[in-house]
């Protein structure tokens, strides 16, 4: 079956952040106590209770000012580094949809996935110390035939869900430059842009470190041995692997 994707078009985004609230509503995530940091943007980063957020970017030049609203979330890579490095198979790439979701019951909080992710997406519960939490493509909704909560609520279809190929074709027809079409096995979250990715503060030329596969196999071997010290050692090594 055809791979799914979210097509993000910042040109259509009005920065309303219904996507942030709808995500919390569907996933039943509590609010974070925030403060105003001199911007409309909030929360200022992803965390275990914020799977997606909108970055507010002001660009001023001689011609005037632009105010860009850009979605920040898991990119659902075609070849996800997090899945490769996870020693326990807690991160899963869904073969139908391409969604990268996770099984919290399996997660051992080693945080290797954070080190591997080229987009710095994984966050952890218990104040950052616990198990993985991130956008899971509303895998439960998608499997039940529903649209992910963010795309469903978006007033202007700046987040659009559908067949990946069809979305790519549509965006190209409209004259957009695509971000994520081929990177990392093709991203599951594709951006339709009018300017360079840098302007939208997207990671330019995202790459997966060559050591990810190596560390993945080391960690899996250790976990496979299952002795009592393995878990602690895996966590230690996982942290080492973050010291790139």
């Amino acid at each position: 079956m055809a791979r799914k994707a979210l097509l993000i078009t910042p040109d259509l985004c009005i920065g309303c952040r219904a996507c942030q609230v709808a995500c919390k509503e569907w996933n039943q995530l509590p609010a974070t106590k925030t403060k105003n940091n001199g911007t409309h943007e909030n929360p200022m980063d992803l965390d275990a209770n914020n799977f997606n957020r909108i970055k507010f970017i002001e660009v001023a030049d001689a011609k005037g000012v632009k105010w860009l609203f850009v979605s920040h979330r898991c990119m659902h890579c075609g070849e996800p580094a997090c899945v490769q490095i996870c020693p326990v198979g807690a991160l899963i790439k869904d073969k139908d949809t391409g969604a990268v979701y996770y099984d919290k019951n399996k997660c051992i909080a080693c945080h290797a996935c954070k080190s591997a992710c080229p987009f710095d997406i994984p966050r952890y519960d218990q104040g950052g110390k616990g198990k993985i939490a991130k956008c899971h493509f509303c895998i439960d909704r998608v499997k039940a035939g529903l649209v992910p909560a963010c795309a469903k609520t978006c007033p202007t279809q700046s987040i659009k869900y559908g067949d990946r190929e069809a979305l790519i074709k549509e965006a190209k027809t409209k004259g957009y430059k695509l971000y994520g079409e081929t990177d990392l096995g093709g991203l599951g979250v594709i951006f339709a842009l009018k300017d360079s990715p840098k302007v939208y503060k997207l990671v330019e030329n995202p790459r997966i470190s060559e050591s990810v596969a190596f560390w993945g196999s080391v960690l899996r071997t250790l976990v496979g041995r299952g002795d009592s010290t393995a878990s602690t050692f895996v966590k230690y090594l996982a942290h080492k692997s973050t010291e790139k």
Partner: protein, 185 residues
């Protein structure tokens, strides 16, 4: 319920059924085998915030709202909602709401709880007392005015039409002329 049959599976605006896109509906292990809204009773409502009039589906289980999301059948919002509309779940399940009438006596420094019966009787008594004391039958020119200036009312665009209608009816029967609401400001 006077709803026409509506298909909840319909996607927000693409008008395509996802099941027709060939998704494998076989349950995966790591997510709930059933949607948390499965088996819930659905009703529609209209968003209480701005004046666009977005339609919202409210899912209820065991007498509790368990989910709210945009109604794809409404031609006005086609399933979409803004963040306020998307947050209606928290309005329905809101620990900060006041659950019973409160009373603050003159000079008191705190609220105290009061029964509906007592609150309503006291208010009715105050309305009558103030109305009777300040009722103006005729103005200085001798024209019949049958009004009371000493009681005023503001509100409310948050009420339903039917409530607004009986409210204006009631207030005018009491003789109020200071009747205003959000529309002015």
């Amino acid at each position: 319920m006077e709803l026409t049959r509506r298909n909840f599976l319909k996607i927000s605006s693409g008008a395509l059924l996802l099941s027709s896109l060939g998704i494998n509906l076989e349950p995966a292990k790591a997510y709930a085998a059933e949607l948390r809204t499965k088996g819930a009773k659905e009703t529609t409502t209209v968003c209480p915030y701005c004046s666009v009039g977005c339609s919202i589906i409210v899912s209820v289980k065991d007498g509790k709202v368990i989910n709210t999301e945009g109604d794809p059948d409404s031609p006005i919002n086609e399933g979409a909602l803004c963040p306020k509309g998307a947050s209606i779940y928290q309005m329905a399940n809101n620990p900060y709401r006041v659950t019973e009438p409160l009373y603050r006596a003159p000079g008191a420094t705190e609220w105290k709880k009061i029964s509906w019966e007592e609150a309503l009787n006291k208010i009715a008594r105050l309305v009558k007392k103030t109305r009777d004391k300040y009722f103006i039958t005729k103005n200085e020119k001798g024209q019949v005015v049958n009004r009371v200036d000493a009681i005023a009312h503001v509100g409310s665009a948050a009420l339903d039409n039917e409530e607004c209608y009986i409210l204006q009816k009631l207030l005018r029967s009491w003789g109020l002329v200071y009747i205003e609401h959000q529309a002015r400001i």
